[in-house]
Symmetry: C2
């Protein structure tokens, strides 16, 4: 392959190191550390493993971390009361409710109950609005798009005046990253196009892209001939396409993951490319940590 690999695992690690340093410094100066609570309802195995990883990472960077596990039959009212408790808890700077929630609970209502100033996931309408307004208004950029922007910046890819094409218009990735890339400032200032299921000529748009961000959830959607030679390709897709033997135990099968881009062929054409897994994925939790640190810094008035 000729493309430079953008290793989210390594870049994420580097950022976690930076966060650890900042946390130690703030602790020394102000006697306080960022506090993150993760609220888990029920025992969905995937959710449990995500929460465990978040808590482990929070612990590692020196945060106060609280895992608050609630039974699957908790009432919506009790869950809202729990959030209200953490909204008023001065030692907590980030509140994370692990999704999905059981069906008897209105997810939107629960997420909107989180104090926007502790909404480190960045999904509350106030934070979505702040993101679109841009500049100093932005408080918590949502974690996956923030991770994408960080990967681009730290790989030294120039975005100012660049053609950025975003494939997919989800609220979690496509729309926020498009809005972030078109703002003024570092790692942005790009000419942005969003393409999606209704787009007539997706290939032509992708061919124009200096930076191609693909978040469609369709394995192998982007063909190598859609990629401009030398482009930076960010593949957000994580599609389970089958199983493969585990590296650690060849008798055990694990999920075989593929991105939205035909990686092997694309990496012969692109200038930069993220692998799947190990590209965008690891950045999400890293950015969650950064948002939690940001929350404390806003509170302390540290820039």
């Amino acid at each position: 392959m000729s493309a430079k690999l953008i290793k989210g695992t390594e870049i994420g690690e580097q950022i976690l190191e930076e966060i650890t340093g900042e946390v130690a410094e703030i602790k020394k100066k102000h006697g306080v550390v960022p506090g993150l609570v993760t609220i888990l309802v029920g025992e969905n195995p995937a959710s449990m493993s995500y929460v465990t990883l978040k808590i482990k990472t929070a612990h590692r960077v020196g945060f106060k971390e609280v895992q608050d596990s609630q039974p699957a039959d908790i009432s919506e009212k009790d869950l809202l009361a729990l959030i209200e408790k953490y909204n008023h808890d001065d030692s907590i700077h980030g509140i994370l409710v692990q999704l999905p929630l059981p069906k008897h609970i209105d997810e939107k209502k629960v997420l909107n109950a989180i104090d926007p100033d502790k909404d480190v996931d960045g999904f509350h309408p106030v934070n979505v609005g702040r993101l679109m307004i841009g500049g100093n208004e932005v408080k918590f950029p949502p974690c996956t798009p923030a991770g994408i922007q960080e990967l681009i910046v730290r790989s030294g890819v120039e975005t100012r005046g660049a053609e950025v094409v975003v494939v997919g218009r989800s609220n979690i990735v496509g729309k926020p990253i498009a809005n972030m890339m078109l703002q003024k400032g570092k790692g942005a200032d790009a000419t942005v196009t969003i393409v999606h299921t209704q787009t007539r000529n997706m290939a032509e748009h992708c061919k124009r892209a200096d930076v191609l961000i693909v978040a469609a959830g369709v394995p192998g959607l982007v063909k190598p001939e859609w990629i401009k030679p030398g482009a930076c390709v960010i593949d957000v897709g994580v599609n389970r396409v089958g199983e493969k033997p585990s590296k650690n135990d060849p008798n055990k099968m694990v999920a075989l993951l593929k991105g939205d881009v035909d990686f092997e062929a694309a990496s012969e054409i692109a200038g930069f490319i993220t692998p799947v897994p190990g590209g965008v994925g690891p950045m999400t939790i890293t950015m969650l940590m950064r948002n939690t640190l940001r929350s404390l810094k806003f509170k302390l008035g540290i820039k």
Copy 2:
């Protein structure tokens, strides 16, 4: 000229008629009418004339309208208390603070104090966020972008799968209209590109546009050769480029306004085009009325 003229004056008039009908019906059924308060601080002549026009229009469609004029030296605290009063006034469904405010008052703080459910201008971060999230989440689309979308829909221009290019990335027009056009649904579902001051090849992008929305504030920025034959051109620019004798009184001079598009030449190429003035302009107040009506309808649970 060969382009069909999109007359905002006429379309706006038609929508005001529709609103008048709906207001009368709601009054009959529910015994209530939409209430709009415009808060004017000081005596800026341009602001005064805008407010007068808004109040006149509100009166015409059958709203309860309140004009609350405050002296230029009102304290920020008193202005915030005034807003709080209207936030709790059940007869008021829309609160409008006319900008600009005097320098001793923090505009952002004042605008953010308006109850998002009465923020008929749609500039509160919560409403900006709801707009980007899309679908049923949207409460008050900001007035100028909403007017643009309405002009496109009522002119019978198909947007689904169309190439929409937005020139300009302001928070008042460019960003919101781009976000609206890329959502799912009627008058949207388009492939959207935003170009701006940092864009390398603005002409090439414009040439691709089936719908070209120009909100740059630069008179004559868009050249006729940038326009795709048959395209729909929406010119949001209102630039004061000089003076001309008044139609009513040839001895009096009035502002000579020009759009961001070279209208005469462009109208030979475009399929549809908005004039300046009389295109997008008149739609803004119309959409303010519609948002105020929407506010009451949300409250009454009417779809």
